[in-house]
Symmetry: C2
Subunit: 171 residues, 2 copies
């Protein structure tokens, strides 16, 4: 803590004031689970609902973290720990900013998740394990792999982009 004489340096806008402005509390929703278990899908669906209810939200996933803040990390064990540590510290700042921060990472090590939990108060960290059966995870993963080439094609040849398809899964 600084002394009273340097108080003009300090933040006057607190988490509590931001939450009052937002009319909702902030929290970290930590989605965990295997690849293909639906972490990101569920997090984005929850975000859509919360946004429509007027809440301030953000979802962290591989797309916006692995190419940015954690772009200089490999997939070694040490770097995986550091990856989760940085995501945890960032989520903590979003919490302070009054945002409902959702993270969608495999985060397989309990120690990593407990370290993040310890950064904040007990009620500020909710862990959500996406407990999908392995067969479902594998099916969803392989489906994504099949779809990916089409994506690249549509980028390089815009004229040949196929017409929009409905969002529902074809039977």
């Amino acid at each position: 803590m600084h002394s009273a004489n340097t108080v003009q340096h300090r933040a006057t806008v607190s988490r509590s004031r931001r939450e009052q402005l937002n009319r909702h509390r902030s929290v970290i929703l930590w989605f965990t689970g295997l690849s293909g278990s639906g972490k990101s899908t569920v997090a984005h669906a929850v975000e859509e609902e919360l946004h429509q209810a007027g809440c301030r939200t953000f979802v962290f996933d591989g797309d916006n973290v692995r190419h940015g803040l954690c772009a200089n990390l490999s997939f070694s064990e040490d770097d995986r720990h550091e990856n989760i540590r940085r995501i945890g510290e960032m989520a903590k700042l979003f919490l302070e900013a009054g945002v409902i921060a959702m993270t969608a990472f495999i985060s397989p090590f309990r120690t990593d998740r407990e370290r993040v939990r310890a950064l904040v108060s007990e009620n500020d960290f909710i862990e959500i394990f996406c407990d999908s059966p392995l067969a479902v995870c594998e099916e969803r993963m392989s489906r994504d792999c099949i779809k990916e080439p089409a994506q690249v094609k549509s980028k390089t040849t815009p004229a040949s982009r196929p017409p929009m398809k409905p969002r529902s899964i074809p039977t």
Copy 2:
């Protein structure tokens, strides 16, 4: 972008929708200047005004970054670059989240600041050089040192401060 069939994995809540909800645009205000030039003081004063006007804001400074996200960085030249890189990437995510993100760091190297600027669109990054006279900076610093000698002296003694390289010399 993924193809239409995998769109259910993707974010539906965009920066634009968040800005509409907030009724203001998001932006990065990058305060730079010598130790004691008033970066943090000014940033927090701006934040107070913006908050009272109903804006979503956050200020990053040494207090909330150096002990968290960047706690494993030293003050070596390499680590100073990495410090600014991480802050830039984090500010970019706050921008995406619809927040007016203010940063208050010496950030003496123009190349570091230009690298952050290049992460976002032209109008999303506003650099603010706190151009206080050296004597004023020193007076403010020594006032802080008297109040909290251990903390300030060990981290940012003027002798070890890197030379400031403003983006443009004021005429």
